[in-house]
Every structure is written in structure tokens, then in C-alpha cells.
């Protein structure tokens, strides 16, 4: 899962990035509205944390431009503006959630998990496919009742595939969603991670679709669990 944090306060931005990375997300950052808009417009994020009081371009304008341009990724507004009219304006502009400062990191993490899950069409925080159970809240993976220890890269890969069950996910898409901008994007590493993941899970739920990518779950079945 790849996220974007648009926040002009450097300390807060750093804290968010650290917390999100610890939670297993790939995170990009922007410190002003224009940069944030550009990244959100060009990169395929799974969710965006957006401040409203941004330099160069206001958060609401950024959001409106994304939505006008057809960008549908979930956006969580994180702002000090706590008036009802601000919330209404934020949601009208196309926000999916709204958290006011001061906030607890745990709350933002929980809301983001819900947003990502909902965007993928899942109702609960637990995703399952056959014997594999993935708890997005605790970032744990259980196979046949036994917990499996995964690295953060492996977890991200599995989580993305399980969020998009029933759909063939290309290698390029995986690269775009699993790594932040600064990562060395060599799609071969994906194959390496897939191999490790298959070995660790012990059950083969990841199918390789020749020339297209990878598939978890039944083709055409959009949702399970």
C-alpha cells in the first residue's frame, strides 16, 4: 500500500511518515499544495493524508482538482479546522474522512486502514483467502491458525494482493503501490518477494498469470471475507 502525506509542518510530516512506514505502508511526502497535487495526480496512491492549510495551494482546492481530474483514491483530511462548515466543505470537495488536530496517531492509522479497505470493497479489517487470514489492524498474517512472520515488504505485497482479490495485478502496479518514489524500482524484486511469500505461507494462493501478473482468489470474484 502506497500513501501520500501532504502536510506543511515538517515535524508533523516526519511523524506521520514514520508512523505510517512502521505500519507497513510505503509513504511519499509533499510539503505544499502544488507538490501534493502533482504527486496525487500522477502517482497511483492507495490513500492520501491531506492537510487543509497548505502553502501555495489550499488543501480543499487540491482535493477538488484531483476529483475533477477523475482521481478517486481515498483522501483523509487532517486539519486544525474543526468548524462544521469546514467539514462540510471538505466532504463536499470529495474527502473520504476528516480528522481534526490535535489527533492521536492511532486514530489516523485506524481511519486510513478503514479507507483503504473500503476502497478495495472490504467491510471488515480481516481479509481472508482460503486458509490465509490477514488482519489489517494488527498487520498479522495467520495461515491455518498459525501466525506467520513476514517482513514489511512481504506484508505489503500480500496485503495489496488480498485487497484486490479476484483481479490480476500487474507487476508494474505492484511496484507503483508498494514502494515510495525514492525506491529503486526493479520489477525483478517483485518476483523475489513473491517467491519468498509463497514459501513462508506454505499454501499457494498466489497464482502467476503469464504475461499479465499475479492473481489471488477466484478470477472475477471481487470480494471475499
Amino acid at each position: 500500500m502506497r500513501l501520500l502525506v501532504v502536510e506543511d509542518d515538517k515535524d508533523l510530516n516526519r511523524q506521520l511518515v514514520t508512523a505510517l512506514q512502521n505500519a507497513g505502508y510505503a509513504v511519499d511526502t509533499a510539503f505544499d499544495g502544488e507538490e501534493g497535487h502533482f504527486l496525487g495526480d500522477t502517482e497511483p496512491y492507495d490513500a492520501i493524508v491531506l492537510d487543509l492549510g497548505l502553502p501555495r495551494m489550499d488543501g480543499v482546492s487540491v482535493l477538488e482538482k484531483w476529483r475533477k481530474g477523475g482521481r478517486r483514491m481515498p483522501v483523509l483530511i487532517l486539519t486544525a479546522r474543526d468548524r462544521w462548515s469546514d467539514k462540510v466543505q471538505g466532504f463536499d470537495a470529495g474527502a473520504d474522512d476528516y480528522v481534526t488536530k490535535p489527533f492521536h496517531m492511532e486514530e489516523v492509522l485506524a481511519r486510513l486502514r478503514a479507507l483503504v479497505r473500503r476502497a478495495a470493497g472490504h467491510a471488515t479489517s480481516e481479509l481472508s483467502c482460503g486458509p490465509v487470514l490477514l488482519d489489517t489492524r494488527s498487520s498479522r498474517v495467520i495461515v491455518d491458525g498459525n501466525p506467520v512472520k513476514l517482513t514489511s515488504h512481504e506484508y505489503r505485497l500480500l496485503a495489496y494482493l488480498m485487497h484486490h482479490q479476484g483481479r490480476v495485478v500487474s507487476r508494474g502496479e505492484l511496484v507503483e503501490h508498494l514502494y515510495d518514489q525514492d525506491f529503486d524500482r526493479d520489477s525483478n524484486t517483485i518476483e523475489v518477494f513473491i517467491g519468498r511469500l509463497r514459501k513462508k505461507l506454505g499454501v499457494d494462493i498466489i497464482e502467476t498469470v503469464r504475461g499479465l501478473g499475479y492473481l489471488v482468489g477466484q478470477p472475477g470474484k471481487a470480494k471475499s471475507g
Binding site: 515535524d11 473520504d96 488536530k101
Partner: protein, 459 residues
């Protein structure tokens, strides 16, 4: 005495002026008339006098003995008030003997206006008033004629002065009636004039009222040049007032932003650590968070000096909430429904209405199982009283016991802190409702949960 009304001042001054002018004019006219009436009377008397002089001349040269036949019946009727008298003066003896009198004098004599043998007399002729027989006031003309040969006569003709008085009285009565009518007409026209002249002031008052009602942003500029500067200044004042409130609100918003982000940073930093310092920091940032929120709310309340003429359409606010709340609580399957009157307007700031209704819907939404209903209705008031409207917010949640309801509507109380911000939201509602002289009550809802009822000023 100070008169507080402009039209009163104008009317009073116009009335005083009008009465003074009419009074002086009346007195002058009356006096002129009296003189001309007297003059005409004197003309008549002088004519008789001339006839008598001619008679006396014929008497002395012996051509006639019939003296004083003036052919006027009033000189024949006894004590008619019209008399003549011829006195022969003897210079040597310095005596005066009545020679002839009119019959009307009967056996009395006419008193002299000026004694004919008084050596100090200057003119041969004189006129004036005397009191004649039966104490009647008489107008009298006297003439001394000297026909030579010691033939000196003193001739008097007197007429009833009451006739002069009667005529002047008649004239004065007519004059008084005319002038009273004229005065009334003038005052009436002044009333019309004052009303017309002061019309722009009434218009200005209506314009200011319209601004206060929120029907207009400004008072118009199309006033006569005496009032236009006032209207202009009023508009500036209205703008300045709005400007001040807006600026105060903006600064409060900026302050919120400026404080909340650093507090967020501190809170998050402290949560990363378990040292004693981090614990202290966590504790203190918690207090800071509450304090900032508390004082921001206070600051907002202080900027809530209800500005002149702010009016808020209720429907858009409700619609915005019904649109937004399902998104805020996306995971909770609660339907937000609005019923009741449309097109009502709240006399107050939009932000305040949003705080009032938003906090209540928020509270209802947190507790509701499946449904929140918002219904708006005008409240019947006595004729002439300020219009009001009610907002009912019902939920099908667990509701509150009467004691808890009492506590929740007390000012500055937090009822329940298990749901974030819930108690605080209600205390804002209580404060705001009081600020707008509205009412806020909690009750059992027909839906099974809690009913919040607001009554607010409408337009």
C-alpha cells in the same frame, strides 16, 4: 422644554410664526379699518356741519329764519344720539349762549369738546369724543365761525359713536374668522410639508430596519443631499462592523491552526517514548489540548457579538449536514432524514446555526441505532412578537434519563466523555441558544431515543 420630534419642532415653529404674523396683520387691518370707518363717519358729520354753517350765515344776514333743517329724521327724534347745537359767542362779555339746538337734544345741551371761550384754543375746528345725553358716547365735530360784527358762533354736530363701534366690530369679527381659517389652512399645509420634507428620514429608518432584518446588505445611497452623508456613514459602519467580526473570526481560526499543529507534534512525539519526560509531556499536552480547545471556544463565543442584520437560510445548512454526516460516520448505518417546513431563515450567524444544529445531529448520530430525524417548524408566537422557529432532532438510540437530561443542558457540563467530544458539543449548544435568547431542551423522542429541541429567532 425640549421637543424630541423633528416634525414637532418644525410644526411648533411654523405655528408660532404663522400665529404671530396673522395676529400682527389682523391688528393692523383692524386699526386701518377703524380709521377709515371713523373718517367716513366724520365726513357725514362735516357735511351736516357745513349745512349748519350755511344756515347760520343766512340767519345773520336775515334771509332766513329757518335754521337747522337738515332733513334728517335722526336729528328730530329725541335723544337719538344725533345732535347739533349752535352757540352764539359774545366776545365782549366773554359769554356763550346756546342759540339753537336740534330737536333731538330735547331740553338738554351738548357739552363742549373744547370750551369755545377758552383763550388757549388754537384751531377753529376740532373733533373728538364726548359723553352726551343718557351717557351715550358721541363723536363730535365743532367749528367756530366768525361772521364779523361780533357775530361769532360755535357750531357742534354729534353722531352716535356706537355706529362706528358696531361697524368696526362687524369687520373685526369677519376678520377674525377669516384669519383663523387662514391660520388653520397654513398649519395644515405645514403638516403636509413637514411630512413630505421628512419623508427621506422615514425612508432611511425603513432602510436601516431592512438591513437589521437582513433583507438588505446596505441602506441605499439615493437620499437627498442632507441625508445622503448619514446613509453613507451608516453603510461604512455596517461594513466596518462586518469587517471586525470577520477579522476576529479569522484570527481565531488562525490561532487554532497555529496551536493545534504543534500540539499534535508534541502528542505524537511523546507517544513514541516511555521515558518519564515523555509521560510528563503526554500528560501536559493533554491538558494543553483541552485548554486550547476551551479558550478557542471562549474566543469564538466572544466574537459572536450578534452582528447587525445577519440572516442565515436554514435549509442549506440542514442539507449540508444530511449530505455530510453519512460520510463522517460511514461505518455506522444511520439514515439522516429531514422533515418539516422549508424556506425558514435564522436571525443570526451561519456559523452559529451550524454549531447549534451540527453538534446536535452529531450527538444524535453517535447514539442512534439506525435513524436520525431533523424537523424544522415555525413556532406560533403572539402577534407583534419576534418570529421563532423550532428544530427537533430525534434519534432511536438509548436516550437519557431525566436527571441526565437536566445535567446535559446545564451550562459548561460534560455529560459523557466515552464518546469523543459529545459533552462539549452540548455545552456549546446551551451557550449559543442562550446567546440568541433561544431555548434548548432534551426530551424523550417518539423514535425511542433522545429528542433535542431548539427554539431560535427567525426572520
Amino acid at each position: 422644554m425640549r421637543i424630541r420630534s423633528l416634525s414637532g419642532r418644525l410644526l411648533l415653529s411654523a405655528t408660532l410664526l404663522c400665529c404671530t404674523v396673522l395676529l400682527i396683520a389682523g391688528l393692523v387691518l383692524s386699526e386701518l379699518n377703524r380709521r377709515s370707518v371713523t373718517q367716513a363717519f366724520d365726513e357725514r358729520l362735516r357735511l351736516y356741519l357745513k349745512a349748519l354753517v350755511a344756515d347760520v350765515a343766512t340767519l345773520t344776514d336775515g334771509t332766513s329764519t329757518d335754521v337747522g333743517n337738515l332733513g334728517e329724521p335722526q336729528f328730530q327724534i329725541p335723544l337719538s344720539g344725533w345732535y347739533w347745537q349752535i352757540v352764539k359767542l359774545d366776545q365782549e362779555k366773554d359769554t356763550a349762549a346756546v342759540m339753537r339746538t336740534s330737536r333731538s337734544l330735547f331740553s338738554t345741551k351738548l357739552p363742549f369738546l373744547i370750551d369755545p371761550i377758552d383763550p388757549r384754543r388754537e384751531n377753529d375746528a376740532s373733533d373728538g369724543y364726548i359723553t352726551g345725553p343718557e351717557s351715550k358716547r358721541l363723536r363730535i365735530l365743532e367749528q367756530l365761525i366768525d361772521l364779523g360784527d361780533n357775530n361769532r358762533f360755535y357750531i357742534s354736530v354729534a353722531g352716535n359713536a356706537a355706529e362706528i363701534q358696531d361697524e368696526t366690530n362687524r369687520f373685526n369679527t369677519a376678520l377674525t374668522i377669516t384669519f383663523v381659517l387662514l391660520g388653520a389652512a397654513l398649519i395644515g399645509s405645514t403638516v403636509v410639508q413637514v411630512g413630505y420634507g421628512l419623508m427621506p428620514l422615514a425612508e432611511l429608518r425603513r432602510a436601516v430596519f431592512a438591513v437589521r432584518q437582513g433583507d438588505a446588505e446596505h441602506v441605499g445611497e439615493r437620499f437627498p443631499q442632507e441625508v445622503a452623508p448619514l446613509a453613507h456613514e451608516l453603510n461604512e459602519l455596517i461594513d466596518a462592523n462586518r469587517e471586525i467580526v470577520n477579522r476576529a473570526r479569522m484570527q481565531v481560526g488562525n490561532l487554532a491552526h497555529a496551536l493545534k499543529t504543534p500540539i499534535s507534534v508534541l502528542v505524537n512525539e511523546a507517544e513514541q517514548d516511555t521515558s518519564a519526560l515523555a509521560l510528563k509531556l503526554r500528560e501536559q499536552t493533554g491538558i494543553m489540548k483541552d485548554q486550547v480547545q476551551y479558550y478557542l471556544d471562549r474566543a469564538r463565543a466572544a466574537t459572536r457579538a450578534v452582528t447587525i442584520g445577519s440572516v442565515t437560510e436554514v435549509d442549506p445548512v440542514i442539507d449540508a449536514f444530511l449530505r455530510t454526516f453519512p460520510k463522517i460516520y460511514r461505518d455506522r448505518d444511520v439514515a439522516y432524514v429531514s422533515t418539516g417546513a422549508k424556506g425558514l431563515r435564522f436571525r443570526g450567524e451561519r456559523q452559529d446555526l451550524e454549531d447549534l444544529i451540527g453538534n446536535l445531529i452529531d450527538n444524535a448520530g453517535k447514539w442512534a441505532r439506525s435513524r436520525v430525524e431533523v424537523s424544522i417548524a415555525p413556532v406560533p408566537v403572539d402577534p407583534g412578537a419576534a418570529p421563532r422557529f423550532s428544530v427537533l432532532i430525534d434519534d432511536d438510540g438509548p436516550g437519557l434519563t431525566p436527571e441526565n437530561r437536566m445535567q446535559a443542558t446545564r451550562r459548561g457540563r460534560r455529560l459523557d466523555e466515552t464518546k469523543p467530544g459529545s459533552g462539549l458539543g452540548l455545552s456549546i449548544v446551551v451557550d449559543l441558544a442562550a446567546l440568541y435568547h433561544g431555548t434548548f431542551e432534551l426530551d424523550d423522542s417518539p423514535l425511542g431515543g433522545l429528542r433535542a429541541k431548539l427554539v431560535l429567532p427567525a426572520v
